[in-house]
Point group: C2
Chain length 190, copies 2
């Protein structure tokens, strides 16, 4: 392995492919149009399961995934479930953590920062009177979400903080969770 | 099993416990304060993993979960990953589907509607030029999310639609995804 190859893969991100992807999209912006999907089926009570496989992106339906991912949701006993999986709000915390992390790891790779550790703890505060329909005053969702990152790597503190900040600014899920997204809900009752 | 017990469990939701929970919270609103959590660790590249176990609710730290849930996130090859799990935006779709579904199933149980099938397909549209930092014009996250439910049960169409609509109005994740939540991001670089 020569030194160019060694440098091209950083934080297990292939930066050569990363920069080639950015160039391709700059030349042909429609390659950036993606459609992600999930199909969810109710199993019983608080138990439901999503299947995630197909998506559209880079100008075509993607066929690279050999198998579907299956995700089970549930609720703990105190919320009338039998713990068949994390609950939906916990999945949202995971989505946020995962996106912030991937985003900062890619930024670090692009900027030549070798990371050795990225850990985050997230906590969301919820007054369930909203979601339970007991009161209209508390909102249904989290009042706030607090994220704490611990980041280690071969760069000075200032640079590491910059990488986290830039990752936050570019994170898809951070954008959605902090600013909201228009959602349409259609119902068929065959 | 007598007929009272038969009726108490509907859609695999114990409605007696549901109504008792609502009564308890009305009498003591602080029981509704919950704190949900996730701890995420970077594994390498687009691969990171969340551990979900502890939460606070109903006036105490919950200890009912024997084991932690582990969730692996990733990206497909076209987004520089190796498909170690659904990507963060797909997890957000799952969180939304799961919450809308649980919400409407609980509403149906409370209102005496027996459901036989609940399925939803979700699609989110994203112009990746935002998240990739190529352009400031498209946002980072989904431009919109479309949810399509198919719901079957022992009630007339109008009632089934009402149950979905009420579920949407009370869903924690629908609220968060459509209206946004304040998120703080703290960084430690030890």
């Amino acid at each position: 392995m020569n030194s160019v190859m060694t440098q091209a893969v950083r934080n297990e991100v292939d930066t050569a492919t990363l920069f080639a992807t950015l160039d391709a999209i700059q030349a042909q912006p429609e390659l950036a149009h993606f459609r992600f999907r999930a199909v969810n089926r109710w199993v019983g009570g608080a138990h439901n399961r999503s299947t995630i496989k197909d998506f559209y992106g880079a100008g075509q339906e993607d066929t690279s995934r050999a198998a579907a991912f299956e995700l089970d949701a549930g609720e703990p006993a105190v919320l009338l479930g039998s713990d068949t999986g994390p609950n939906p709000a916990e999945y949202l915390l995971h989505a946020l953590a995962a996106c912030l992390t991937t985003s900062l790891v890619y930024v670090a790779a692009a900027r030549g920062v070798h990371l050795t550790e990225v850990e985050s703890t997230l906590e969301g505060l919820m007054d369930l009177r909203g979601a339970l329909g007991i009161s209209d005053e508390p909102r249904n969702g989290f009042e706030r979400i607090d994220v704490s990152f611990t980041v280690k790597g071969d760069a000075p503190t200032e640079k590491l903080r910059e990488v986290v900040e830039r990752g936050r600014q570019r994170s898809a899920v951070f954008d959605m969770v902090s600013h909201g997204v228009p959602v349409t809900v259609d119902v068929s009752t065959p």
